[in-house]
Subunit: 495 residues, 2 copies
């Protein structure tokens, strides 16, 4: 049993709230404990951001959202939870006390993760009775999109705990990365801290301002690091001669005066004023909500781009996303009611994402066909033509499509798509899909399509098997009673 | 005059070759001087990679490729060049000598950039007679894709030089970022050096292996940094309270033991062996050429995703790409011959990129429509409906499309698309496009489409102006002599 059935989030700030969003959208019930008066508002805002991002991130069938409960006591929250995530402020005494309280109240088999950015788990677990199931699970914001959790055990953490934690995170689209040894700030925050110190010196010494420094990162190695890390990038830089050559070439720089490494900058009022002022000049025209939205849309776009990487197999975070989606397809989404077959089937609900629009903010032409493709995919899953079926060597291929544009979809607009079967036989399905504006129901585009059942290896059409036809036929029979949609059966330009 | 007419590349390794590729694909002639016996091979490989990447990167009309000449002497290479880029090995005496030789031979107005990773321009320009036009232009690999060049002046560099250099890089899709002061290793390499030192310690101390360290980067802050840098990311982390709040919260960590900042690791044989071994285990299953290909495809995907950012206006490197494309559209591409209108017009040449394929490596359905859309866009530009025309308030909108799939396109396959006009009047164009396999000419898909000329603000169809019709009509008349293509005028499923 590697999936979480109930999660408890102790501490509901930005990090605790984003953990809650990750669990909830993964279909897991969450009990939250945070006595802060603003906790419900903050968590609600984070979850809204996460839902918006997921609507753009994937067409895979998300499970029914888990239920969120705010609890009056920590004990109530951890009751029955098999994953407890502590995200209280970064003070050793406070965290130690909370973890000891969790330890006393939780089921002995429950896993207990801490979101600490830097405190060693050995320090945190000191007073626990069952420290073997306690570890650091250090996430990165936004937790609901970035897949990483650094998993770090203390002296008394069992090895099985880290492996089990990693296995439990995978079904919610997260990548648990296990460190071999504990160290303050783990791996990611140590690297970030190194950059941060050096960056502060560059601002302090007026080498550049904050915007220039950010531009240097995002126009260069930031894009490299979104897909490969430090060592794999440098391996390429070493060329055919590889890593050893790179080390020989760049090793000597270590002793050159290339960083301020022996000094710590004094973050005095003057430097704080300088940084805050430059940051206002750089980013102040946009509010934080706006920047968060842009960040999340960009992350979604980057992850989708990486999902297409390595010849469609997925690369880096895109590969994690692909695995997450395969898991979702296999599960088949939430316990949705079987669709009403006496009407056109409502098969897709989506939203026009930033990647789908042209510079005028209108949905580009080929994205309509993408939504129609998602709609026919949903029909296929309904009749048993799923990922496993396709992997086994048969599928339906679209051979013809006739699209009519009746209106325009704009950035952020909610859409849904319906599908009516026009005719079918052993090999063919002809059907008519409509993309609607979700607010008014108005048709924005229609597509008449013809699909052929094929043996994909032989590359020729063959009859579909009886079990697929037995699911298809009742729908086709019910739809035969419906009026033929306006626009079906026409050629281009025909009235 | 802010564009480069002839560039000289002095030094033709990976960096010099990639500069040459950037210039050549930007339509600029390049004279290369490098006495190394492998220079021509290395440069040729880099240019091939760059051409492959550009074919996936943009549908904008690239200019006719510049001409590459290998010269026997440095003097011959710099003759007539208005941008000279020095990319010889990283030794002060060598670079100083080469720059002095360039200085003596070059036109006094020519700009002279050095690709040095870390040497201060004041040091480099010491012996030059015209040091005012010499500066550091430090790029990041792959130079043909990553837009950044750090522009750094020395004590004797004029301010106008840096601004002029920045202006000259923009038309080839590069972002020149001017630093306020010189410092060893500039900004990017100082930040990278800080991470590199800390990373070496983490491997040395067995906290993790190289693959884990890379995973930590690419599953977390790498994706943040591809779009925003350090300060803008932290501004968001500070929430509504902003940068000042963030500094107050995280300032104290500076004095915590979060990095090994006071020590420099000894890169002895044991550590080199450890890193090289771990890197082999992590990446050794793929050759460098394979990793380069994956890196470039991912960068293309990330840049295209960012181009859709901020509601389609473009963000970060995606905004640079959008600006580059607008520049290319405005220039209208290379001096191509006017197409032969006595046959279907060949309007698009492209290649199936990684982002276009499904997990089986086949081009996904909606990407066919994307290519058909690019084809009709090319027709529109041919008849004068370009970016400026659309901005001014009129356009042609596609209202109907009938696609037939006749074959499959696979990852990396070269394609071209042809278009035949079937009929037209003042408001409408009905046409028939075909996507062909470039190797065999075989038709893989066809599309019959109907476009309406519209007043985009009023949202209604209106007659096209006379100058547009005067360009359209002769093509339509010529195409009326051609046979009606097989498949035109049919409804879905009609034989």
């Amino acid at each position: 049993m590697t999936s979480i059935t109930k999660a408890a989030c102790i501490g509901g700030g930005v990090i605790g709230g984003a953990w809650a969003a990750r669990f909830l959208l993964g279909g897991i019930d969450v009990a939250m404990y945070d006595p802060h008066p603003d906790a419900q508002r903050i968590v609600g805002e984070v979850i809204a951001n996460a839902e918006r991002a997921y609507a753009m991130l994937t067409m895979a069938p998300l499970p029914s959202k888990g239920q969120l409960t705010f609890c009056a006591t920590l004990e109530e929250a951890v009751d029955g939870a098999d994953w407890i995530q502590e995200s209280v402020p970064e003070r050793l005494d406070l965290k130690r006390g909370v973890l000891t309280q969790i330890d006393a109240a939780a089921h002995p088999e429950a896993l207990i993760g801490s979101s600490t950015s830097g405190i060693m788990p050995t320090e945190l677990q000191r007073d626990m009775k069952h420290p073997e199931r306690m570890f650091v699970a250090h996430p990165y914001n936004p937790v609901y999109l970035l897949p990483l959790a650094e998993l770090v055990g203390g002296e008394r953490t069992s090895k099985e705990t880290l492996e089990l934690a990693k296995a439990r995170l995978a079904p919610i689209g997260m990548k648990g990365v296990i460190l071999k040894k504990e160290i303050e700030a783990f791996v990611g925050d140590r690297l970030l801290e190194a950059v941060w110190r050096e960056g502060l010196w560059l601002i302090h010494d007026d080498i550049c301002d904050t915007e220039t420094l950010d531009d240097v990162i995002r126009y260069s190695f930031g894009m490299r690091w979104a897909q490969m890390g430090l060592f794999e990038t440098y391996r390429i830089a070493g060329g055919e001669a590889g890593m050893r050559h790179f080390l020989a070439q760049f090793g000597p720089c270590l002793s050159w005066p290339w960083t301020k490494l022996t000094d710590v900058v004094d973050l005095d009022d003057a430097l704080v004023d300088k940084i805050a002022g430059q940051s206002d000049a750089q980013s102040g025209a946009r509010g934080i909500r706006d920047l968060e939205r842009i960040r999340d849309e960009n992350l979604v776009g980057i992850m989708q781009a990486l999902k297409a990487g390595d010849g469609g197999k997925g690369w880096g975070a895109g590969k994690i996303l692909a695995e997450f989606e395969q898991h979702l397809w296999a599960k088949g989404g939430g316990a949705k009611a079987a669709p009403d077959i006496a009407a056109p089937l409502r098969l897709v609900d989506t939203r026009v994402s930033a990647a789908w629009v042209d510079y005028n903010g209108h949905m580009t032409e080929h994205r309509y066909l993408q939504v129609f493709g998602d709609t026919s995919d949903a029909l296929l899953r309904l009749i048993g033509v799923d990922f496993a079926y396709v992997e086994a060597g048969h599928s339906y291929y679209t051979v013809e499509t006739h699209i009519r544009h009746l209106g325009e979809a704009k950035l952020g607009q909610s859409l849904y798509a319906t599908l009516q079967i026009l005719s079918c036989d052993e090999k063919r399905i002809r059907f008519f899909s409509t993309i609607h504006d979700a607010a008014t129901g108005k048709a924005l585009a229609t597509a008449e399509q013809l699909m052929l059942h094929v043996d994909s290896k032989a590359g020729k059409s063959v009859s579909a098997p009886a079990d697929v036809l037995s699911r298809l036929t009742p729908i086709a029979q019910a739809h035969a009673e419906l009026p033929v949609p306006d626009g079906a059966g026409r050629s281009v330009g025909q009235r």
